[in-house]
Structures are given as C-alpha cells and as structure tokens.
Amino acid sequence: MSEPSGDTAQIPCSSKVCRRLFGPVDEEQLRRDCDALMADCLQEARARWNFDFVTETPLEGNYVWERVQGLGLPKFYLPAGPRGAWDDLGGGKRPCTSTVLLQGTAQGDHVDLSLSCTVVPRSPERPEVSPGGPGARQGRKRGQTSMTDFYHSKRRLVFSKRKP
C-alpha cells in the first residue's frame, strides 16, 4: 500500500496463479445481482433499524434517531467529495443505495465508517448509549443483542466521540 502504483507490477501476468476459473463473467448479470442483493441488505437494515438508508430518514419503530453535527471526527472518517456533504441525502453515485452504506468506497480500498445519525435505543439499560440526550426518555425495554452486531464499529465510533 505504501507504493500503490508499484505493487501490481510485481505480479507477472504469466503467473500460474493468475487465472480465471469459471469462464467469462457476465458484467450485466453481476451488476443486476449486486443491485438486487444490495437492495435486499438495505431492506433488511431498514426493518431492523427503523431507518430508511436510501433517503436517510428515520421511521417509526424501536429506535429514536437524531441527527448529530460536528462530532469532531477526524477528517478521515468524514465522507469526501461533493457527494459527501451531510445534507446530501442519498446523493451517492448510485441512487438505489444509501450514502451511509456506500460512503467513500470509490475513493479507496477501505469502507469508511461514518454515520450522520445517532441511534438512541429507548431502553436506558446502557448508560453510555444515552448520555443525557433526548434518547434517554423512557420507552419499552428492548434487548441490546441486535444493536451490537450491526454497525457495531460505527456506533462505538460515534459514542466514544460524544463522551467528554
């Protein structure tokens, strides 16, 4: 990675390992399947988090979403370029997918971890999750297990920055 232009030159094209295994790849089918699966993921995420990741709007459900501004995140975590502005809702290159999920992937090899909204569960079980914010209001209890396995790293990122 230190010399991204040079590292591909080291693989000789004749290397026995460079080979296609299953014949030609149908680009069109690849694109269709990618879009369908991505839509699938978004639908799943939408139901799970009561949040529309395409339009980036909160929906009715178990979680209260609130927009957060100026988290003091390092630039690295902020979406770059014209499609990265906070209010550029759903302004990704491909309209069918959310910027939350797709942010910055075209820029490099790494999926950026960034969120423009904070999810605040109504359950007060985990104090670090609702540091006195509007999310601390009472609500029905809900297990935290599903919270921890999706967007786990994102959530940690956001909340660790919120602590003084």
């Binding site: 026995k16 390992v17 296609r20 299953f22 790849v25 995420a45 090899d109």
Partner: protein, 289 residues
C-alpha cells in the same frame, strides 16, 4: 566509506501478548462464541443450484495459492473461506460469480488481519482481469451486508497457541508442530467436509495430526496415541471420539492431496485447463511423511 545494508521486514507484528494467550478465560470465551460464525447449513444441498462441491475446491485452491504467493498471514485464507461459506449458505450464487466472491472474501480477510492488506487491483489481476476493481468494491459491500458486518470470526488459528502451551512438548519442537498444524488447517479449509466443524475441533485435530506425523521421524512428543488425544480433547472440551474421527479425516485429506500432487507431477505436460482442476495446496510439499 563502508555501507551497511539491512533488510527490514516491512510487516510489523505485535509480540505475542501473554495476557491473551495465558489466560484460560480467553480460551473459554473462544469456545463459547465459535459456533456463531459457522455457516448456517450445508449449502450444496439446500441453497446452491449452480455451484458444485468441486467448484468450491477450485476456488479455494486458487485462493490459497494467491495467499501463499502474496505471503499473507496464515489466518487470512481460513478466514476468507469462512466468509465464503457463510455467504454461500445464505445466497444462491451462479458459478460465474464464485471467483469474484473468493476475491472479495480474501480482500476482507486481508484487511482484517494484515498490516499491509491485499489491494483490489492485485486481486483483480489474479482473476486474470476477469473482474474489475470497481466490481470488487461493490461486492465487498454486498458480502459485508450479508455477513451482517460480523467479520471477526473465530478461526482454528485462534486456538493453536492455547493448545500448544498446554502440551508437554519440548519448547524447541513447538515451531515445527505449529507450522505443520497451520498447514493442516489450510488443508481443512479447502475441503468442504470441514466447513461445518467447530474451529476448535479443527485446531485440535490439526495439532494432533501434526504431532503424529512428526513423531514418525523424530521424537517430538513424550505423549502419543490415546494419551495425546485424551489430553487434546480435554483442552478444547472436544468429545474424544469426534476428535479421533476428525484427526483421521484430516490425515486422509493430506494423503489424498499428496497423491494428487504426485499425480500432477507425473502428468507434468498436461494442459492448462486440467491444471486448474488440481486441488493440491502447494504447502503440502513441506510436510514430511
């Protein structure tokens, strides 16, 4: 003027952390959570229509070769296979997507485990440019979504040090045992038979197979046979009979691979296409039998 030329390994590794390796709670926690990361079903029977078991072996062999040529960390290949199996257990996939999927899984596993990860461009070259970096990046998100971003899967490698430190082997024998066990683990990852086995069992069986294999040439262990199996089984809470069966399967897979390799060497002049079908992990040659 005299010049001194030092070669510095560009990859920086953390030193082994005794707080992690010498604490039994870590081992117990690994044993508790490992099942969460197993594929949900035997997908050739219930999910896949196009993909056949031999195709998984083909893509696995290719992935192992890429990882070896790129000198990836040992864990990258088994972890990538875990992603591949978990994805295929949930998503019916045409065979024409399988190599792309394998590349995506290596891409993700490498990023999780390596200081200097594989790049998208490199991986695309290894597919003979049948896929583009952009496609790789888009499918990366698909795979992440389908795996629910649960990437920190437990692999057999996580257990190796925990097992080795509880064996009464002389310290100087450990590096060789470790190396052979790692090769067995890679071998298991190429074979679908082992995809649904808990990683702790594969690790325990691989260490057992490594010690038994090495024992034939030199004295690496004061414990052998049933006594060794009993101790190994106790370390990872594995059923003794299951462990025996697993170790026998591992040894059978090795034998099979070696025969295949010798076969390939005899038929040295065969066509490129046939070579592609070979299922011999190259590392097997390093094992002395």
């Amino acid at each position: 003027m005299e010049l001194l030329c030092c070669e510095v390994d560009p990859v920086r590794r953390a030193v082994p952390d005794p707080n992690l390796l010498y604490d039994d709670r870590i081992l117990q926690n690994l044993l508790t959570i490992e099942e969460r990361y197993l594929p949900q079903c035997s997908y050739f029977k219930c999910v896949q229509k196009d993909i056949q078991p031999y195709m998984r072996r083909m893509v696995a062999t290719w992935m192992l070769e890429v990882c070896e040529e790129q000198k990836c960390e040992e864990e990258v290949f088994p972890l990538a296979m875990n992603y591949l199996d978990r994805f295929l257990a949930g998503v019916p996939t045409p065979k024409s997507h399988l190599q792309l999927l394998g590349a995506v899984c290596m891409f993700l596993a490498s990023k999780l485990k390596e200081t200097i990860p594989l790049t998208a461009e490199k991986l695309c070259i290894y597919t003979d440019n049948s896929i583009k970096p952009q496609e790789l990046l888009e499918w990366e998100l698909v795979v992440l979504g389908k795996l629910k971003w649960n990437l920190a899967a437990v692999t057999p490698h996580d257990f190796i040090e925990h097992i080795l430190r509880k064996l009464p082997q002389p310290r100087e024998k450990l590096p060789l045992i470790r190396k052979h066990a790692q090769t067995f683990i890679a071998l298991c990852a190429t074979d679908f038979k082992f995809a649904m086995y808990p990683p702790s069992m594969i690790a325990t069986g691989s260490v057992g197979a490594a010690i038994c294999g090495l024992q034939q040439d030199e004295d690496v262990s004061s414990l052998t046979g049933d006594a060794l199996t009993d101790l190994l089984a106790k370390i990872t809470n594995t059923d003794v009979d299951c462990l025996k069966a697993c170790q026998e399967q591992i040894e059978a897979v090795l034998l099979n691979s070696l025969q295949q390799f010798r076969q390939d060497q005899r038929d040295g002049g065969k066509s490129e296409d046939e070579l592609d079908q070979a299922s011999t992990p190259t590392d097997v040659r390093d094992i002395d039998l």
